[in-house]
């Protein structure tokens, strides 16, 4: 006997947990509503686990809200995110990433990576006379939104630990007028030395 899936497994466990008196009842009941419920639960668990593995290790489709990444990503755009770069530590400067918010772990933020660990970041405004720099600590990244006037990002809450990054956004699928790979930052390069 080969056990092929969770519904079949649940069937077998149910069958063997009862004695012979129940087997005649099993034949009538299990083929009815109880059997259908078990099969539904089994398939739900199976597909939920496959979905979890796909979203966690491969990628998925995400809807972004908020103005902080305009004009690259507008409010209510739908984009594709992939998680392979994060697992293989291949995130680079200029990538747009989804990360858990440092101040609220249940919500996600969508920003561009401006600096990796060890980079020198210009943190003063262009209008300031005295320029101030900060170094990005080890294990952290510096995130900024493309819409600098309207974005709370690393300029507000500091460098973000790499462990909070969940995936890299690389493709936009909605609206169709903007379908395709995402543009480079409109703000040019922000780290000194360019």
């Amino acid at each position: 006997m080969v056990i092929a899936g969770i519904p079949e497994t649940l069937d077998v466990i149910f069958l063997f947990s009862r004695g012979p008196w129940w087997q005649s009842l099993h034949r009538t009941m299990l083929r009815g509503i109880l059997g259908k419920t078990f099969r539904l639960v089994g398939y739900t668990i199976q597909y939920a686990c496959i979905a979890h593995c796909a979203f966690e290790y491969v990628g998925g489709v995400v809807m972004c809200s908020g103005p902080s990444m305009e004009p690259t990503i507008q409010n209510s755009d739908i984009v594709c995110a992939e998680n392979l770069s994060r697992h293989f530590y291949g995130i680079q400067r200029g990538d747009i990433v989804i990360a858990k918010s440092p101040s609220d772990p249940k919500s996600n933020i969508c920003k561009r990576v401006i600096g990796l660990e060890g980079d020198k970041i210009l943190t003063s405004r262009p209008s300031d006379f005295f320029k101030s720099h900060n170094y990005v600590p080890t294990g952290h990244v510096w995130l900024e939104g493309d819409n600098l006037q309207n974005s709370t990002d690393s300029r507000y809450y500091g460098p973000v630990p790499y462990g909070l990054i969940r995936g890299r956004i690389f493709f936009k699928i909605w609206p169709l007028s903007d379908f395709g790979f995402l543009r480079d930052s409109p703000n040019g390069h922000r780290s000194p030395g360019d």
Partner: protein, 185 residues
């Protein structure tokens, strides 16, 4: 002869199909279970002595890590938790939660004497002060880095026990915003 060969080929194909079906069920379910429900890990290092690894490198404790308990990022002061290291994302560290968001901690060896834990962050410390790379070195950590809650020691068998969520009295926060569920002062 041909009938026998056809029968054995049919058996192999059926077995292969059943194996594939089982594989695509068993692997995602196992991976999801280990990611979302619970897993097991060996503790290395001396930063949590004497609670974990009292024997040093001779015998490493193996602990049960419970992901399900922290699925909503709810932790209490005194919990032993595992988290992604803020300084090295490839590594996981295991420490005790000393303070929650809003608390003011008196630090040991940090550049500031008193630190207020920001929103969405926690303050973690190893039990072996001085031999621990913890919040006294890298400051408060974001709750998003939380990995699991260590609930039991599973190995070696003589150290089989439930890990208690106890906060050493000298490490109580100076001021707390959130009330602890255990009703400690």
């Amino acid at each position: 002869m041909t009938a026998g060969m056809a029968q054995s080929q049919g058996w192999v194909t059926r077995y292969f199909k059943a194996f594939c079906k089982g594989f695509f069920v068993a692997v995602p379910v196992a991976v999801t279970f280990l990611d979302r429900v619970a897993c097991v890990a060996r503790v290395e290092g001396a930063s949590m002595q004497p609670s974990l690894n009292p024997g040093g490198s001779q015998s490493s404790d193996v602990v049960l890590l419970n992901h399900w308990k922290v699925r909503n990022f709810e932790v209490q002061r005194g919990d032993i938790v595992s988290l992604v290291s803020p300084k090295n994302p490839e590594q996981k560290i295991i420490k005790r939660v000393i303070a929650l968001e809003g608390d003011i901690v008196k630090t040991i060896g940090h550049k500031n004497r008193y630190v207020k834990v920001p929103r969405g962050h926690i303050w973690v410390e190893g039990d072996h002060h001085g031999h621990s790379f913890d919040s006294n070195s890298f400051g408060p950590v974001s709750l998003g880095l939380l990995h699991a809650h260590a609930t039991h020691i599973l190995w070696p068998p003589e150290r089989w026990q439930k890990l208690e969520s106890v906060l050493p009295p000298e490490r109580l926060p100076v001021q707390s915003e959130k009330e602890s569920l255990h009703g400690s002062p």
